[in-house]
Structure formats: C-alpha cells, structure tokens
Symmetry: C2
Subunit: 575 residues, 2 copies
C-alpha cells in the first residue's frame, strides 16, 4: 500500500489517494514531480498556490542500511525556484508504516488563522489546536508533544523562524533520541509550512503497519552486500564515524578551499581550533557521544552529541558546514559559541549554512564585529520576536546584503554556498552554479574526486573534467535522494564495483518492481529534468547558472585560483 495523503490547509479537507501518476517515484523524484506538475511556477512561495510535499524514498520503511532520509519539496521562499531538502529523523521509515508514500499540503488558511498541529492516523487527519506550542522553540515544543503523544513520537515541526515566514526556516524532524534535531535545512521549507499555519505534523504512534520486502530472499542478500560495501570504505567506516563530518575542516583547509571571512581566503588561521579532531576531543572530555545515527538503520554514525563544559547536552547534528560557516567564514574561534549557535538554529528552526553565511555578511556590513560569537548569539536569539534586525538576519545572505549594503554575496539563485570554495573545488562549483537548488554541495559533491580521491581524481583547480564530474554526481545524487538513501553512501558506492547495482537490487527486491541500473539513472535524471523545467517556467534562465562575479575577478589565496567557466560550458552539467 503506498498512498498519497492530500490535505487542504484552508478547508481542512483531505483524501487518501492512490499514487496514480506518481507511481514508481519516491523521495526527491516524487516531490519534484508533484511540485513541477501541480504548483504554478510563478506563484508566490508563501501564497496558497504553493504546496509542500513530504515524501519517503523508494526504500522507505525497509531495513536496508542508511535508507531513512525523508524529502521535503516545495517552491522555495529563498530561491524562488523548486526545492528538495532532505533530512534524517524518524519520518521516512514511519510513513510507509502508516501506508503513506507522500503527504501533500495545499492552500493556506485566511490571514490571522491560528496554528494547528496536524495529527495523522491511518485513515484520518485532525487539525488540532496548537496554541500551547505556538511561538515555542522546537526543543520545548517537541517536549510538549512528547508529553502528549508519548515516547514513540514521530513529528515534523517548525520553530519561530518558520512561524514568522523567514526564508531560512527549516522543518525539524524527531531524531532517534527524541529530539527535534534533524533538519530539512535549506531553502526555507519551514516558511511554507508556516504560511499554511501548521506548527507540527504528528504521525499517530499507534499505527504500525507491517511492511516487508516483495522478494525477501533477494532483499536479504542485497542488504548484506550493501552493508559490506559501506563497511568496506574508509570514509564511511572510519573517517565519518571517527570525527564526524568536521573531519573535513583540516582536509579542506589543507586543500586551500576552506572559505574564510566571507569567501575572501581559502585557509583559516584557527582551523585547528574548530577541527573535527578538536571537537571529538572536547566531546569525549565532556561525556558526549562521538557517534550517532540521524535515522534508524544508519551504520555510518557521523553524528555526534556535543555537551557543554558542565556535561550538559548542547546540540547534535553538529555538522562540518555549520562549523565552517560560523568558525571559518565568520571567524568565530570559540567552538562552544558555534555549538550554541547550532542549537539556536535548531531551536528557532533555521538553516545553519544560510545563517552562518548571513552572520558573516552582517560582520562584513559592520553590524557586529568579525568573529564575535557572543554578538551573533544575541542576534540569533531574537529570531521570531518581531525585531526588525532579526527579520533581516532570518532571511538569509542576499536579503542581509540588501539591508546592510554588502555586495560580496556568495549565492547562486538566492541560496548561499556551503563549505567549499568553488574556485579551488571546481567540481562542486559547477554543481553550485547549475543545480536547480541554488548553491548546494549535496546536489553533486565534486569534493570527492577533487579533494578526497574518491571515485577517481579530477583537479579541482582546473576546468577540465569538472563539468562531467558534476553532471554524473548530480544524476547519481538525485537518484540517491529518490531512493531515500543517505548521501554519504556515495563515498563507498563510487569506489565500489557493485555499489550502484546493489542499490538497484535493493529497490527491485524491496518494491517488487523491475529496477535496473538504467532505471536508477533515469530516476535521477528525471528528477533533475522536473526541477529544471519548473525553474525555467519560474523565470530562471541559463544566466542564473553562474557564480557571482567576484569569484571570477578575485583570485583565492593561497592558490590564487579563479572561476572561469562560461555560461555555455556550464550548461553541460544539466540533465
């Protein structure tokens, strides 16, 4: 049973539908198809015409390792284009156990309507009064939901940023440790949920439909092969579990590609103070946890639990991109300040990459001093309060640039860049430029071949080979996002002879539908085509597939590389 639940947030009507035109799709391929087919491309993202889709991947509900990512799709308030943002947490595996493949939220209530909690059972949807959690940060709000719904709570919720329609607003998902710590982070999906006046979505803890593989033996075999592939690669079996994603701080700094002081330099003097190695030491010292999974069935365990000096929990899902954005790009040296900001972002429901870059822009504009973590904390704690400065900060890099008169804005299609300078890591730079998502490393992570020597080796300083690298990775990634796998499986898959075949085997044996490697590639390419099609109808042209001009004019120290692709060359990376 794979139903689509369609809910009208204005009339409160709903229907459980067959997947019909969306059969065979999952995760990102499904959300992008729905948005492309059903949302008027030129609508305002916060208008009733926009929709928000939450979809499990093709492997959702299965016991295949690392297959529990959930996709959120919408027209992005940040970029004005299509958006798929995926997250860990419990939602992806829970949805199939409710007979659900996707939830489509439509329309929005009249102005001034109160927030609701959507309570979804096997055959009903209730709009429940959310007065007791409205305005709350996500941790205390989530605690109230835990008290009400019990320890098997599986929720998605927004924080004050989403309620106040900030363009950086995330949707936070319940993680395996009863915390709202997993984020559909990028593109402002939380603002769309906020515009529909939904504070939280709770999946009935009592519903637990048994799901099983269509072909149990084949699935068991493929699953076993899959585990051995993931366990056999040094990145997924040692690097990530050992130091978390921040293992990359020293690596990318060494490569001269760690964007520093709002993308002025490729190396950061205090990189050691914010490195994965340092963080792991601090975590151990304070009784935190150096390994955690973001969803059940994860065997990579790249997440962590970071405590304060007194041993009290501060944050988890404390990622490299967060550490980089605040630590290197905004020059904040104190790792405790950075961890505190990570927690504030989870509490307010905000994308740490966009917020970290925005803090750097606020520093560039003289609003707060460079490197001043305490000042940043003070700023960010105001998000959702109606403070005009918080309205600005909560809207991301381009918006803050417009407010503060800063013209050095590292964004593509309105979304700011992650932790890899595109001048020195051109494989990911091509992805920033060309993906429909706006600057997004997870859409085609060319850092692999450019820096890590995974999946071959392509020089990140030169143009040659990086358009092809990015395109191949973009297609593969879109497929991975559609199956519901964690992107990090790609490290192992890229260096494995049978990785892609094994993923296809998993889908075929789990779903019972024929699914070859060609189908897998077509799934990814199809998602990209839906996304490109939507963006074109939304007004994007190939001119938007470029980086800001300062990457062309300003060489990046220490290697003094620049960005030098023509728009035409970049078109080769699109599906």
């Amino acid at each position: 049973m794979s139903r689509i639940l369609r809910i009208n947030c204005r009339t409160k009507e709903y229907s459980f539908e067959d997947d019909g035109p969306y059969a065979g799709l999952g995760g990102r391929a499904l959300t992008s198809r729905v948005i492309n087919k059903e949302v008027p491309a030129t609508c305002h993202p916060l208008s009733g015409e926009n929709k928000l889709v939450i979809a499990t991947g093709l492997m959702g509900g299965s016991t295949a390792a690392n297959s529990g990512r959930v996709s959120v799709g919408t027209k992005s308030p940040l970029t004005g284009g299509i958006k798929e943002s995926n997250s860990g947490g419990l939602f992806a595996h829970k949805m199939p156990k409710m007979g659900l493949k996707a939830i489509i939220l439509e329309d929005k209530p009249e102005e001034g309507a109160p927030f609701s909690t959507l309570f979804i059972t096997e055959d009903k949807v209730e709009f429940r009064d959310a007065a007791d959690i409205t305005g709350l940060d996500t941790y205390p709000g989530h605690d109230k939901l835990l008290a009400q719904y019990g320890d098997k709570l599986c929720a998605a919720m927004i924080g004050p940023a989403g309620e106040t329609l900030r363009k950086t607003a995330t949707i936070q998902f319940t993680d395996p440790y009863k915390r709202p710590a997993r984020s559909a982070g990028r593109g402002g999906t939380g603002a769309v949920l906020g515009s529909k006046k939904i504070k939280a979505i709770v999946l009935d803890p009592e519903v637990n439909i048994k799901v099983s593989a269509a072909n149990a033996d084949a699935f068991k075999e493929a699953r076993s092969t899959w585990v051995s592939i993931l366990k056999g690669h040094p990145v997924t079996s040692q690097g990530l579990p050992g130091f978390g994603t921040s293992v990359l701080v020293n690596i990318i700094n060494e490569a001269g590609a760690l964007p520093t002081k709002n993308f002025r330099y490729g190396q950061c003097d205090h990189a050691a103070e914010i490195s994965g190695e340092k963080i792991a030491d601090v975590i151990k010292e304070r009784g935190g946890k150096t390994t955690e999974g973001c969803h059940t069935g994860c065997i990579i365990q790249c997440s962590q639990q970071y405590n304060d000096a007194d041993g009290n929990y501060v944050t988890s899902g404390f990622e490299y991109e967060t550490v980089w954005a605040l630590g290197a790009n905004a020059l904040i040296k104190d790792i405790d300040d950075i961890a505190r900001i990570d927690r504030i972002c989870d509490e307010k429901g905000m994308d740490t990459i966009e917020i970290g870059n925005t803090v750097a822009v606020a520093m560039d504009g003289g609003i707060i001093p460079w490197g001043d973590g305490k000042a940043a904390i003070e700023l960010l704690e105001k998000i959702g309060s109606g403070d005009p400065l918080a309205m600005i900060i909560g809207n991301g890099v381009d918006f803050a640039g417009g407010a503060f008169g800063v013209d050095r804005l590292p964004t593509v299609k309105g979304q700011s860049m992650p932790a890899y300078d595109p001048r020195a890591v051109k494989g990911v730079g091509v992805t920033y430029a060309t993906t429909a998502m706006g600057a997004d490393h997870t859409a085609g992570y060319g850092v692999t071949a450019n820096v890590l020597g995974v999946g071959g080796s392509v020089d990140g300083h030169k143009k040659e080979g990086n358009v092809e690298l990015s395109k191949n990775l973009q297609v593969a990634t879109a497929a991975i996002d559609s199956m519901g796998f964690c992107l990090f499986v790609a490290f192992a898959v890229l260096d494995s002879d049978n990785g892609v075949q094994t993923m296809a085997d998993l889908v075929q044996s789990w779903t019972g539908n024929d699914f070859s490697v060609d189908d897998l590639v077509a799934l990814g390419a199809g998602a990209m085509q839906d996304e490109q099609d939507f963006n074109e109808r939304a007004g994007f042209s190939k001119v938007d597939d470029q980086l800001p001009r300062f990457f062309e004019t300003d060489p990046l120290p220490p290697h003094n590389v620049t960005w030098d692709y023509t728009v035409e060359e970049l078109q080769g990376a699109k599906a």
Copy 2:
C-alpha cells in the same frame, strides 16, 4: 561640441572624450547604450563594475519648449535590470553649456572611503571634501551648496537613503527655484551614486558656453509650431496647469482603476479628500503656487508649491502618483500628512511611488495601522539612521514583503506599480509587464487611450488592442526620453497631425543632423532593444514579463476585471 566626461571614482582619473560610438544618441538612448555596452550584465549593481550615466537629451540646451529632462542610467539595485530614470531640474540644459553630453561614473573607492562632491568645470574634475554635507538631508545639504557655490548652483545630490545604499534611493536635482526637489525617482539610482561615494555633483556655475541651433531659421519655425501644439491641447494647456497631475485622482477613481489598500479595490472612498481639485484649493488658501515648471522652458507648468497651514513651504513636485500611493493605496486621508511624506522622500532622497507602496505593505503586514499617516512619517524619518526597520522600508516593496511576510506584492521585475490598476487599464498594464524598467507607467502610458480618450480610444478592460497600444507608446516614449522632452508633450502630440514631425524637425534644426520621423522611431526602438538585450544577459526571461498572479486570480472591484494575458501574447509589446 558634445563631449562625454568619464570619471573613475576609485582612481579619481577622468577624461573628456568625443562621443565616438555614442554619436547621434541622447538621453535614454544614450544611457541605455552605454550601460548595455559597458556594464557586465551580471555584476552586482553596487559593485565597482556598475556605472552611472547622466545624459542630456538631443534637445538639451535648446530653447524648445519642455525639452529639459535629464536621463540617469545604470544597472538598478531595485530590479537587477537596466534602468533609465529621468528628471526635471537644471541639469539637462546646463550640461550642453559645459560642452557635455554625458557624464559616466565608473568604479568605486575602497570600503570606508569618505563621500566627495564632484565639482565639474569646463576642463577639470575635482573630488572635493563633502564632510560638511555627508549625512544631511537634501534640502539642508543643498542650502550648504547654495551658500558655497551661489545662486546659479546646478547640482545633483543624494540624501541619506542613497548614502546608505537603499534600493529606493533617488538622485535629486536642483530645480528652477533653488530647491533639490526634482528626482530621478525610480530604480535606486541614488544608491549607485552612494556606492561610488559621491554625495553631490556640482556643475561649475561660471561656465556658460553659448549653444545655438545649427539651422536657426528652421529651429525658430519648428519651435513656434511646437508651442502652438502644446498650447492647443486641453490636457497640456488646461488640465495639468489647472490642478497639477493630481487632476487624475478623481478621473482614475471614477474609472474604477485607482489602486486602493494595496491593490485590493479600484475605488477609494475618500478620493475627494486627496483630489487635485482639493489640493488646488488648499494651495490657494495657503498662498502656495498651483503652477510651476520642473525645468526652464516648461510651458505646461504641472508642478506646484504646497504650503502648510501657516503658509510655510512644505513641498513641490507633489505628484499624482505620490498622492495616490499614500492616499489611496495606503489609505492615508490627511493631505497634509501626504505632503509631509512627499517632503521627507525628497529630503531622504527616496522614490515616492516605491515608498508609498512600501508603506502600504508595512500596513498589510501589521507593522503600522492602515491609513496612519503619522506612523508612516515616523517610520520614514528614520531612513538613513541605521535603524533596521528603516533599512527594510528603504528597500522597497518586495524587500518589505520578504521582511514582513506579505505575499501580496504589486511588483514587476522588482519594481512596484504606479497609480493605475493594470486589470482596469490594460494598456498601461501591458507596459508594466513588458518594459525592461519594471512596473513603470512612464514607459508607455496607455492611460491615454484607455481612460483619457487621448490618441484614440481602446477599452482598458479588454485585451484587444492594448498590446499594440502599449508597444507604440513604449517606442514613442523611449524616443521622447532620448530627445529630452517631458513625457507630457505626448498628450498633445498624440492628438496632433504634425506633432511627431515637429519633434523631428526640432531635432534636425537644432543638431544639424538629418532626422526624420523614421529616425525618431528608430531612436526609441533602439533604446528599447538595448534595454531588452541587457536584461536578457542579466538573467531576465520572458517569464519576467508578467504581472504577479493575484492580478489573474483576484477580480478588481467595482468592475470585477482580471488580468488574463498569456506571456506569449505580451511578447508582442517588446521592441
């Protein structure tokens, strides 16, 4: 002699050049050609790569009636596209008397550089210390310039809005009455000047090169015919001088096309209280002036001097669009409050249309109450102060919508609409949608045939005929803007058999170059083509040639008309 003065605002180097590739162009045709040829289309508008061009029209310096408009061209910080904004004042006729056809400002100083006053003489440019006027509103700043340079002062300057790089910032020009009351209003040209750290440009009062017609007899004859055409039409000889441009309040309200409460209704209950008739009564009662020209040689005299209850000067250039935006669209009833806001906009250097609409959006977002003029005054007086709310308001409608979570935003290409609802006046609606300028009534004023019965009659409620109407008007307007004529001459020209021929005769006899009606049309069409070409390279696609969707979905009372053009249909209005 028609030289181009090119000034580098970083190095302070300058050169007086032949017009070379720009020979035969003037006004808008010249600024748009320079921007299209010399500015990288994807540059940030506030980066050193952007340029700002100030150009006199082909008739600049002449004694032809109403030929003293000056064009300002740049890449707009508001729209991200090309911009030509023209203004009255003394600049246009003074430039030729300095041997200048255009001034091109390039690059910008290092961060933290102080503001300068550019003092331009016949053969030199000085960057003079502007510390004494930096941060000042335009009237007191202009008074200081008057004290320094004397009564023959001819200046362009920015206010605090331009200094702080607001997207609504204007450039204010000295008017014939020694006030900085004439604005290059739309698109944020003042922010570009601010980014280049130029607070004011002063043309040496002592330079006064004699200019004369190439063919004196022919010019004299054409000039006389021209006056009789302008004097012979009821709009230019009676309507505009009688009640100023606000004569339109009652007319457009009657037509059901006066956008009210952020474009919700086509009629305003208190229209009589803000009408041109009422304003003229108040002006007379208080000893103001009901007629004034915005530049020397004006025989239409549509401007006014508005005094307060004590008979003290408040403002001039108090236009219909200003009165509408604040009076009807933001529901402010007190005409004295509206006049005060007009003055504040001139003082801070801000576009009254964009600011009026932004005030309405702030009301829609619950920031200040609907119709509260005093609250609006308090908000706007903070512009330039570093107050974050002022940063938001000073950036216009789309920006304020993003800050306040308002999705009803009457903008095209980022610029908000003037005083005619496009659903009921489709001739101007087509112009809003298709001109490269963003929503701009002055780019092709279809109100003529839709409402005023000037230049024929086309039903403004129906699609038929309005694409053609808009296109013809857009071409004619671009030509008028390039010759330096006031747009209001069009009322008379459209109803005259020999109006267009007379304009061509004026250009030919004044310049000594062959100039036919065909050349005139080619001049206008060429300007539009430069503008469209730039915008395409800046990333605009035909999708951007549309109105926001609420104009399609929400019928406009009282006639309940909607907007129903397809994008393809609208392409017919482009050059």
